[in-house]
Amino acid sequence: MALLAAFLIAVRPPLPTSPVKIVLGAAVSVYQKTLSSLQGGACNFSPSCSHFGNEAIAKYGAPSGTLMAADRLMRCNPWAPYYLGRYYHGIRNNRIYDPIDNNYIFGPIKEYDDTREIP
């Protein structure tokens, strides 16, 4: 029993650290499991806006992550492909590659290998 408990503790996913993160993460998860599949993968970017928001909140905290997600939602518009080659330099999974770290305004922008596919 103790072994089973230890195993379950070891394999559990990392817990969000604040109630705000939990609420926002849950909202995004609900969206991903319901509305997202109905849309049929309409996002221009990789990672998709919901994944971007989720990861940005997890990595940079609720305040920065939420702003990054709002910015990304507004950038995910019909003009986005026009900026490929000017502001977005990579394609991954047949979508414009827009890494989370490059949109954190207090961090550096990095160059990424354009051709690598994410399974």
């Binding site: 990054m68 003009w79 502001y87």
Partner: protein, 240 residues
């Protein structure tokens, strides 16, 4: 007959001159992994290893992005400071590269200066770069991220400032639409809906300001990258 045939081909296979020739061919054709293997074979078969072969091995490792191996190899060359500087430059460790390159031997001075200049170009410090490299085109005019954020007080203006009119228009549309919806619920005294709508408006408005800063920052990065790439068209970074 068969034994003679095998002996003949074995002698060809283990002839250092032939191995070196084949390694050179592979290197020229861009198969750096195979070339590296052949150069290593040459090193094993040959009694003496020329400096040119050492540099070819380092070049293969650089192109294969095996920077740690290349650094180890660079330490045993005739001019370790120069070659370590070259490796570190390719590994995008520009500060360390410059520190090594200034200590390189006098016979490598023109090339060292070139790579110090390219290291500054890699850091987008084009003013310092101009002390080492001659490049006639003026550096790009950059945008001020704080100004992008300030202009975003008018939704979308910060994006437009960073040359992203489409994003600016869409930001304006999003914030304006949510603002109109909020106003509508305010007028109709629907408190809950008004609360939700005004929160969304505030969120996207703040996101628009964040985006204004981000757009200017990205603009600067990509203009600097383009300028650096143009420099690399003139100064080949694989010409040591």
């Amino acid at each position: 007959m068969l034994i003679q045939f095998v002996i003949f081909f074995q002698s060809e296979l283990f002839d250092p001159t032939k191995v070196l020739e084949f390694a050179g061919h592979l290197h020229e054709s861009g198969d750096y992994a195979a070339a590296l293997q052949e150069y290593s074979r040459y090193r094993f078969l040959s009694d003496t290893v020329e400096t040119d072969v050492q540099t070819k091995i380092i070049d293969c490792m650089i192109r294969l992005k095996r920077f740690d191996d290349a650094l180890i190899r660079a330490r045993v060359t005739g001019d370790p400071a120069y070659w370590q500087g070259i490796v570190l430059y390719h590994a995008a460790r520009f500060d360390s590269a410059s520190a090594f390159l200034v200590r390189s031997n006098a016979d490598h001075e023109p090339q060292s200066r070139k790579f110090i200049g390219l290291s500054y170009a890699g850091q987008f410090d084009f003013k310092k770069m101009s002390d080492y490299l001659e490049y006639s085109r003026p550096p790009p005019k950059l945008k001020k991220p704080w100004l992008g954020g300030l202009l975003s007080i008018i939704p979308g203006a910060g994006h437009a400032y960073a040359d992203r009119l489409g994003d600016g228009f869409f930001s304006f549309l999003t914030v304006a639409l949510l603002g109109v919806v909020s106003y509508h619920y305010y007028q109709t005294d629907e408190d809950l809906k008004f609360g939700i709508a005004v929160s969304a408006t505030a969120l996207f408005y703040a996101g628009n300001i964040y985006g204004g800063v981000n757009a200017a920052r990205n603009y600067n990065y990509y203009r600097n990258s383009e300028y650096r790439d143009n420099i690399l068209d003139v100064y080949n970074e694989f010409d040591y």
